[in-house]
């Protein structure tokens, strides 16, 4: 561990590499114009791969920039999830970007800048860093949601995302100001330290914690602050949805854990009831709303809301014993991979049928492409939490953690709503295997090789982690 007052810039190498790649993409576009189309992807790929390498084999760890950033196990696991999603989208998203004519330089640079914000949030050691991380990722995502601005849905999604996102930032910031006013510091460690000697039954601290919680819950789309999510996920380009429903959520959850579990842990009595209530509401609303959707994208959006509820159980567990943080981080990886893959594959399949992302588009998939049907089945079973997939192991740890922390009722609710969720995931599988393609649908053209490859690798990883969870758990448990 290095001295807290030193710069320790080397530990920030992954963030810097990703930001540098984003700047280089812009530069390549300015210099090369249209001939640089391939270069954007290669620069991004190089940046992401090198950042991933230095995340897993860090040159330096510990506090950096006078304690405003901390590179510990939490940051390492969070960064790995974010970079894995970026890699997945880079390898599997090329055909989608081409077919929808999304401007490549804008897409690649914005996704790298958003990732920089996410990585700063994940390794934040100070409220200022938390705020800047959230804003960098949000502002980049507002622009990315507007990439398909020729379509009405895309424009509305961008506006809706922007208005709700900036509204939520206001609450987050007000909460931070109150916490700063009460504790006299913005450093997370110092806040935790000062709360041990101060009276935590103070309205300023409780109000600040609750306002910050509202801000965070907006960002991770937890009920009752989730109304924006289905519309925004539905209207944005599928590849952007795949990014914001996975990497952004993973980053926001890690940030939430960083602010609330260690720093505001002393004031846990103030925010735990609200968090527990929101978790229950989210699991119920998310799963039951997903039941009635006809659109695959909206179904996944509501399933994402429901999963935010399961992850909140992990945060609740971590607030009583921080070892349970590992189960949140464990589940983030399979969750992010599955959703990243499903949004992309769903868009590619739908393009061959109705083009409207309907559940009906999956009918007859097994006859057209058995391999793809198998891979999607694995992903959906993992999302439903059926063994032997990583989804089952992840949910098992989350619910066990909730039981350990004394939230038995919430854990039961989680299991019951998971059973409900099996219905709408199985519906897609049944459509794919036991229904015939609608008469008059165009002949099947094989999907892009890169997309099939990342789908296959993700499905394989889900099965491997389902059987040997320690491969990833040993990394997340070092925190």
């Amino acid at each position: 561990m290095s001295d807290a007052s030193s710069l320790n810039l080397l530990s920030l190498l992954p963030e810097m590499l990703v930001a540098l790649a984003g700047l280089l993409v812009i530069l390549a576009n300015a210099v090369g114009r249209d001939s640089a189309d391939g270069a954007h992807r290669w620069i991004s790929l190089l940046g992401v791969l090198s950042a991933l390498w230095f995340t897993l084999n860090p040159l330096a760890t510990g506090a950096a920039m006078s304690g405003t950033a901390v590179h510990d196990g939490l940051a390492m696991a969070g960064n790995t999830v974010i970079l894995a999603v970026l890699l997945l989208l880079l390898l599997g998203g090329e055909s989608y970007l081409k077919s929808r004519r999304i401007p490549l330089a804008e897409y690649h640079s914005l996704s790298l800048f958003a990732a920089t914000g996410m990585m700063s949030l994940v390794s934040a050691g100070d409220l200022v860093t938390v705020f800047m991380g959230i804003e960098v990722l949000s502002i980049s995502l507002y622009c990315m949601a507007a990439l398909l601005n020729e379509e009405e849905g895309g424009r509305e999604a961008a506006l809706k995302y922007f208005l709700t996102g900036s509204f939520a930032s206001g609450f987050l910031l007000f909460g931070m100001a109150l916490v700063f006013g009460f504790t006299g510091t913005t450093n997370l460690d110092a806040i935790a330290h000062s709360l041990t000697s101060l009276d935590t039954d103070n309205w300023m601290l409780i109000g600040g914690a609750l306002l910050m919680l509202i801000g965070f819950l907006f960002k991770v789309s937890v009920a009752p602050f989730h109304n924006w999510a289905p519309d925004v996920y539905d209207g944005s380009p599928a590849i952007v949805t795949a990014f914001m429903s996975t990497a952004a959520k993973a980053a926001a959850f890690t940030g939430l854990a960083r602010v609330f579990v260690p720093a505001l842990g002393e004031a846990a009595d103030a925010w735990i009831p609200m968090l527990a209530l929101c978790a229950a509401l989210t699991m119920i609303l998310g799963n039951f709303s997903a039941l009635v959707q006809d659109s695959f994208k909206r179904m996944l959006a509501y399933s994402g809301v429901a999963h935010a509820g399961y992850l909140l159980l992990g945060i609740l567990a971590a607030s009583s014993d921080s070892a349970h943080m590992a189960s949140v981080l464990f589940y983030l990886l399979p969750y992010a991979l599955i959703n990243g893959v499903l949004f992309l594959v769903g868009a590619a399949i739908s393009r061959q049928r109705s083009g409207k992302n309907l559940l009906d588009d999956f009918k007859g998939l097994a006859a057209d492409s058995p391999l793809l049907a198998i891979l999607i089945t694995v992903c959906l079973l993992a999302l439903a939490g059926i063994p032997p997939t990583a989804g089952f192991v992840g949910k098992f740890y989350l619910f066990m953690g909730a039981v350990d922390a004394g939230h038995v009722g919430l854990a039961c609710l989680g299991i019951l709503t998971s059973v409900v969720s099996v219905y709408f995931y199985l519906r897609v599988i049944v459509y794919a295997w036991f229904h015939k393609a609608p008469a008059g649908s165009a002949p099947w053209t094989p999907l892009d090789g890169g997309l099939v490859l990342v789908t296959g690798l993700s499905a394989l990883l889900l099965l491997v982690l389902g059987v040997w969870p320690n491969l990833w758990l040993s990394i997340t448990a070092t925190i």
Binding site: V128, C143, A146, A158, L163, L173, F174, A177, G184, T186
Partner: protein, 101 residues
Amino acid sequence: MVLGPNHFLLLALVLFGIGVTGVLVRRNALVILMSVELMLNAVNLLLVAFSHYNGNLAGQAFTFFTMTVAAAEVAVGLAIIVMLYRHRLDTSIEHIRLFRH
């Protein structure tokens, strides 16, 4: 009367409340954007006040970050509103069902 932190807190709360009300009540995207800015500026006031009374410059440093972020947010927000206006010649959010299920 001597000004204390509570006076600033009250003023910031009132400003923040006006901002929140504006976002929830007004139907024009531009006015909503202005209301969000009001919320952020209420926080800036609070940060500077706390910074003064705590004898700690961290809050004032925070304000610079907030202002930068607010400027970036306005730039992106106005671009999105202009994009909508071009297609609809209207900045109202009436036609956008913000809370549809």
